[in-house]
């Protein structure tokens, strides 16, 4: 992933960080600036006695700095990247120092980073990158300890199963209460009502459903008043479906059961997924067509990177979704990829009846910006919507789904904008985009792609007579 000013700008938590980084662009502030093995690193003289140590992995824009800043990336990291773009010659080739190696060995990696199998023969690193002295560790596997750990793990799993099932019983009662009082009434007190059951589900370790219910009031309030009660029926009906599918996992297809399990809150770790030989893998060329970030109530930002497959067979999934979580306090709003990035990678999809969410298993070629038009299917919006309906029949609680369109126009009635296909379908554009997409109303026919959440269409990418339009 070659660094560029655009990428640095996208990574920066705010403008003031960029302004602060600009002040560090003097080589005099950097006693050490070096590169090697796809990494760059440097030491920046700050106000303290010892310089801050900064390292950046050029492949995925991963970074580490020893400064105490709570902004991520900090000004030192941004400055190092910036200098790399502005004057790459100032970086002297050098062997990777221990402190950089130490950081690398402890990196878990984002969804954008392929996982390297850990070399178990090597000792584990120390917690701080300041300290690099080797330690003598030789652990001999204790078979009994392993058995005890496995038994404890199984016991914990069973306890969680029981807790989840108890939580689902409470959920049924709560849902029944809402049905009895009516959805018109539910909408009025959704915030309080959902918070109560959501907390109960958190206690029951059904965090997925808890999160869904916690976000429900916000979702309802983004919709126009008249449609909120019917939207509440849609949402609560899906929640009941998930809880039923979870309890009757043995009676439904295994992939749908896996979907239900994840929707309830059983997470599949990255390592488990990539270690699963049965997981669906697709080796292809991909293009990032949308990066959507959303602040969550748990002080994390959920960053969704949507990629469109531009090569390979038609049978495999045409779209992959990478999900990253970053701390809200850090200010970062992107997962490292920019819209328009071209990536060659093997994607490993989470088990699902409609595979969408994935992790990068192997990165063949890092991201490069491409001005080429997106390679989309020739089908119309109606045809693509029919595929969505098929997917919905397969996975009834299907969430956001990508839809492509050809030769559509942007039309308006009142203040509501639509993506409109002549003699075909019209989908309402997300109200949050009403300003952003306005210029498209005067450019005639456009081809493009967007995300449909069953209420509104978020336009992500459009090829127009004036060039490419992408969501800001």
């Amino acid at each position: 992933m070659p660094l560029s000013l655009d990428r640095i700008e996208a990574l920066a938590p705010d403008q003031s960080s960029l302004a602060a980084a600009r002040k560090l662009l003097k080589p005099a502030s950097w006693p050490t600036l070096a590169e090697g093995e796809g990494l760059i690193w440097g030491e920046c003289q700050g106000s303290g006695a010892t310089p801050y140590r900064v390292a950046v992995n050029e492949a995925d824009a991963g970074y580490k700095c020893t400064c105490p800043s709570r902004k991520f990336p900090c000004k030192h990291t941004l400055a190092l990247m910036w200098m790399r773009v502005d004057r790459p010659t100032t970086f002297a080739p050098a062997p990777v120092p221990e402190w950089v190696k130490d950081w690398l060995s402890r990196r878990r990696g984002s969804s954008a980073t392929p996982v390297k199998p850990r070399d178990e023969s090597k000792p584990k690193s120390k917690a701080s990158i300041h300290l690099t002295q080797t330690t003598e560790t030789e652990t001999v596997a204790d078979a009994k300890a392993e058995q005890r750990a496995a038994a404890a793990h199984e016991r914990a799993r069973l306890e969680r199963e029981a807790a989840v099932l108890a939580g689902l019983e409470d959920l049924d009662v709560w849902l029944l209460d809402q049905a009895q009082h009516g959805m018109a009434n539910f909408v009025v007190q959704a915030a309080q009502s959902c918070r109560t059951i959501s907390q109960r589900l958190v206690d029951s370790k059904a965090s997925g459903l808890a999160g869904r219910l916690d976000a429900l009031p916000t979702r309802l309030f983004t919709l126009p008043d008249p449609v909120r009660p019917t939207a509440a029926i849609r949402e609560l009906g899906q929640i009941y479906l998930i809880s039923q599918a979870y309890r009757r996992a043995a009676e439904i297809p295994p992939l749908l059961a896996a979907d239900a399990k994840q929707a309830v809150g059983w997470s599949v770790t990255r390592e488990t997924l990539l270690g699963d030989s049965d997981a669906l893998r697709v080796d292809a060329e991909w293009r990032v067509f949308a990066v959507i970030s959303e602040a969550q109530a748990d002080r994390l930002r959920r960053v969704e990177t949507w990629l469109w497959r531009e090569s390979g067979t038609d049978q495999s999934p045409s779209c992959a979704l990478l999900v990253d979580f970053v701390p809200l306090a850090g200010g970062a709003t992107t997962g490292g990829y920019l819209v328009g990035d071209h990536v060659e990678a093997e994607m490993c999809f989470y088990p699902s009846a409609i595979p969408l969410r994935a992790q990068i298993a192997t990165l063949k070629k890092g991201a490069t910006q491409s001005s080429e038009p997106l390679k989309m299917p020739v089908g119309t919006l109606s045809a693509c919507y029919a595929q969505y309906e098929e997917a919905l029949a397969t996975l009834p609680w299907l969430g956001t789904f990508p839809l492509t369109f050809r030769s559509a126009t942007l039309r308006r009635t009142g203040s509501q904008l639509f993506i409109h296909e002549e003699n075909g379908l019209s989908l309402p554009i997300a109200s949050s985009q009403s300003n952003e997409v306005l210029p498209l109303a005067s450019v005639g026919h456009v081809d493009g792609i967007g995300l449909w959440n069953s209420y509104e269409f978020t336009l992500a990418w459009a090829e127009t007579s004036l060039g490419r339009w992408v969501r800001a």
Partner: protein
């Protein structure tokens, strides 16, 4: 079960509450002994609703077709421009310079960038072309929006549809060529003009104001807008028609006339300031008092020629300031030049007075005006930022080359006190005011600054250079 049945029979129950509107018993099929079937109906209806296709309107609004003949900004400059405008600037001078460049080079921002530079577009919509103007007005009710028409060439058939600043410039040009035809043109559209447009268009009549304008000006004495009435009265008074100019009488009350000289008596004029008007307040009082008076009127009232009026006032700085302001207002740069010979600090004094507009001067006239007031300072330029800031705002153009030469030769930047803190606004102002041929010299001076201080200014120069280069190649 059909979706229509679910909609007709189940939906009302779930909306109103099953305790009050029980679900139809014939539709309920509980999935187990513990269930009464309500939640099964809820999920079934939920799926039925999800499969209902979104509402598609029968008809859509017709979008206004806005013709914008300007060229779109070159693709290579789009990102730098967005980055620059989204970044932090110490002043608004760079944005002013960019807006001017868009207008002068007949360029427009890419429509897809408008949202990202929204603040800039709103502030300078008039200079960015009809599409940007339409964007800036998008929140306004349709009745309040103007027509968005900005042809390359204006003529008498299309001038009324152009934006106001271009209309004023066109009318002035016509006044110079054919004063009567220009007035007739204005009269033809007068009833449809808004108050602001009426005022600004009427200002254009100042150019070659003469007797034949009087009948039209007489009709304006009952205009709804007080500003228009006052301006018309001022013009009538200059023509010697209408009632006496009350402002002129107020001025004359304050001008004391004496004689001096032993062999040859000369008239000497002196402005008596009110007792409570001291220092800056005095300058402000002068501006307010002499705002409605013309040079010609004033000279006539004291029975002196315009040049003799200046000579008679030569020893009195307050009166000279008043004459400088009146000359500026009248666009009489020949007289201003003579006044400045006696009042070398006219620049500072005019700034103190709070003068915030130099009327309808054309760009060459504004350049000349700046040269006249800066020239006396060529040996020692003022280092007060506020003076230069004021000059740029009134000029609303790049500085004339001679002024910029003085500025660059003086190497003013080296003399700034507290360089670290005072530099960014200065550097931005200099980059904004610098005319194209002198940018290389300015870059050389900027090279002596820390990158963090000069980066914004250099980025602005790069964008301006890029815009000009791009336009030259079109």
């Amino acid at each position: 079960m059909k979706a229509s049945i679910l909609h007709a029979k189940v939906l009302p129950s779930l909306l109103g509450g099953t305790s009050r509107h029980p679900l139809p018993a014939e539709l309920i099929h509980p999935s187990g002994s513990a269930s009464d079937g309500t939640l099964e109906m809820l999920s079934l209806l939920s799926q039925a609703l999800r499969f209902t296709r979104p509402f598609s309107p029968d008809s859509f609004a017709v979008e206004p077709e806005i013709k914008d003949e300007r060229a779109i900004l070159d693709a290579a400059l789009r990102r730098p421009l967005i980055r620059f405008l989204k970044g932090k600037s110490a002043t608004d001078h760079p944005a002013r310079a960019l807006a001017r460049a868009f207008d002068r080079l007949r360029l427009r921002p890419h429509p897809f960038d408008l949202l990202m530079i929204d603040g800039f577009v709103r502030s300078h919509a008039e200079k960015l072309g009809p599409i940007a103007h339409h964007w800036a007005d998008r929140q306004k009710p349709e009745a309040e929006t103007l027509s968005y028409f900005d042809p390359e060439l204006l003529d008498e058939s299309n001038w009324a549809q152009a934006r106001l600043s271009r209309r004023v410039a066109f009318l002035e040009q016509r006044r110079r060529e054919d004063a009567d035809a220009a007035r007739a043109l204005l009269e033809s559209t007068w009833p449809n003009e808004e108050a602001e447009a009426r005022f600004r268009l009427l200002q254009a009549l100042q150019t070659r104001l003469s007797g034949p304008d009087q009948p039209f000006l007489n009709t304006l004495e009952k205009d709804r807008a007080p500003r228009v009435r006052a301006l018309a009265a001022k013009f009538l008074s200059r023509l010697g028609a209408g009632g006496g100019n009350p402002s002129l009488l107020a001025c004359l009350e304050r001008i004391k006339q004496t004689e001096s000289g032993l062999l040859r008596k000369r008239r000497v004029l002196q402005l008596e300031l009110p007792a409570n008007a001291k220092d800056q307040a005095a300058s402000r009082w002068i501006l307010q008092t002499f705002d409605e008076v013309s040079f010609n009127e004033l000279a006539g009232a004291v029975n002196l020629s315009e040049n003799d009026l200046i000579e008679a006032s030569a020893k009195d700085d307050p009166l000279l300031l008043a004459l400088a302001l009146v000359a500026t207002n009248d666009r009489r740069l020949d007289l201003l030049e003579r006044v400045v010979e006696h009042l070398p600090h006219a620049w500072e004094r005019m700034f103190e007075s709070g003068l915030d507009s130099i009327g309808t001067m054309t760009e060459p006239e504004r350049h000349r005006w700046a040269e006249i007031i800066v020239q006396p300072y060529r040996k020692e330029l003022p280092t007060a930022y506020a003076l230069w800031d004021w000059l740029h705002r009134l000029l609303d153009a790049a500085a004339p080359a001679p002024v910029m030469s003085i500025l660059l030769k003086a190497d003013l930047l080296k003399k700034l006190p507290n360089r670290e803190h005072s530099s960014p606004p200065w550097l931005e102002l200099l980059a904004a005011i610098c005319p194209s041929p002198q940018r290389a010299d300015l870059r050389a001076q900027l090279a002596g600054f820390e990158p963090a201080l000069s980066a914004n200014s250099l980025a602005l120069l790069d964008i301006l250079d890029g815009m000009e280069k791009n336009r030259t190649h079109v």
